[in-house]
Amino acid sequence: MAKLVAHMRVIAGAVALAFMIAMSAPVLAQQPGMVNPTADAVKEQQLLQQLKTIQGRGTIPDVRSYVLEHPVGRNWQQFHSVTLRWIGGIAIVGMLALLVVFYLARGMVRLESGRSGRKIVRFNGFERLVHWMTATCFIILAITGLNVTFGRPLFASTVGSEAFTTWAEWAKYAHNYLSFPFTIGVVLIFLMWIGGNIPNAVDVEWFKRGGGIVGHDHPPAYRFNGGQKAIYWIVVLGGGAVAITGYMLMFPFYGTTIDTMQYAQMIHAVVAMLFVAAMLGHIYIGTIGMEGAFEAMGEGTVDVNWAKEHHRLWLEDEVARSPKGARTQPAE
């Protein structure tokens, strides 16, 4: 009897085991197909679409190297190599062409009443010092800056890469270090001439009458006319913008990332191109564009007749302040 029970146990055990194997066999067979190691894996395209950049974790101390991919560099390449060159080329060459055409059509704006021989102080020594410090820095900054965008296509192959790279390296240092006196100059210009440069109704009238440049009118103006106020604000706001973005580039990763540095460079370059174009107009009017204008910033004095024609309200104020014309002086 006990033998039979033992037999039964073995049979039952065998049946149970066979059943278990039979049940588990399909599971084993299915396993390779059921495991997909990439089911949860990160996908490059998905990450790029979500974040525009792929960042992870690394083991070297340089945390910036944990950015794996940052394809917007391609967009910046397009901006720098194509867009910026068009913007700069059109702004600067366009302005030069405009000035040449204007000069040929209009010529120098003459002093219609001739020279009186009496002079009035227009800019004192400090004002002229600040102006010329800023202007000198601006010209060097403009040339060295334009070299970054246009130097390579225009000159690199002509002068040879060795010579060009020597010049470009000096240009880079000049650009970086002259930014400091330039920025000081912009701040001083802002403070020293803000008083005369708040736009008012006289400027609206001045612009309506063509500023005396278009046509032969002489709309009245205080110390600074509408056009000069425009130049003032271009210098203050444009100069401020190029200074801020320039320093962002000069001190990499101080609160910036590659992205913000790309934007800083784009703003810096576009504002600078337009700034250069505007300054070409300023230089034109201050030199060959208008008789008697250069001496205002050159010697600091202008002819009284020049002041009468171009800044009548300012001359009246000056004369009223010193009835005997203390600030005017006869020419030697």
């Binding site: 997909n36 894996a41 974790r57 390579r152 880079k172």
Partner: protein, 198 residues
């Protein structure tokens, strides 16, 4: 001539960083500069992947396009190299690079970054092949000796592949079809404007 490319099979990379070490040792890369690095995505989570990344030697390389002094050149093998004699350390290549490859020996305040350094695909630079000057500036020129980049040569899992783009693409395709999965050729779309159909 072959079109040289890198391909990191992320499903094989075990983040051992041997490629990083091999590169530094082979070329005497200065402190603080890593021409190659391994980045781990989704670290510690399901689906974690590591990718070894360096200069990808792009088609229409952004660094070369934006360089103001034209110090970059592309070799007959389509390797993007640069001249440290011409580099002025302006930083433009490093704004443009999609892979963070250009690095500088100094922090870079006041524009004093020094000469840019990056992966050369073990192909040296413009100085004479195998010369002392070439080694000091760019490291060993293994390509001139008929050898492929060391990072890929010594990769223990053969995750990192370097060589003729068509050949390594074929190897990768075969792997993917055999094992049934692949997370793609990282960076290829950005660098070469094409990817590998698997």
């Amino acid at each position: 001539m072959a079109r040289m490319k890198f391909l990191c099979d992320a499903d094989r990379c075990i983040e051992c960083n041997a490629c990083v070490t091999a590169c530094k040792n082979e070329h005497d890369v200065p402190w603080g500069i890593n021409r190659r690095r391994v980045v781990t995505l989704n670290d510690g989570k399901p689906g974690e992947r590591s990718v070894s990344m360096a200069c990808m030697h792009c088609t229409d390389a952004p660094c070369a396009a934006v360089c103001p002094v034209n110090c970059f050149y592309t070799t007959a093998d389509a390797v993007v190299l640069h001249s440290k004699d011409l580099c002025i350390g302006c930083g433009y290549c490093f704004y443009a690079c999609p892979f963070g490859a250009p690095q500088y020996p100094k922090v870079g305040n006041f524009g004093s970054r020094g000469k840019m350094d990056k992966c050369t695909f073990c192909a040296g630079g413009p100085d004479a092949d195998g010369s002392k000057e070439e080694f000091e500036k760019y490291g060993n020129n293994r390509l001139a000796e008929g050898k492929l980049p060391l990072c890929a040569e010594m990769c223990s899992t053969k995750s990192l592949l370097a060589g003729d783009g068509d050949v390594i693409a074929q190897i990768y395709k075969e792997r993917v079809s055999k094992r049934g999965y692949g997370s793609g050729a990282w960076g290829w779309q950005t660098a070469y404007k094409e990817s590998i159909a698997t």
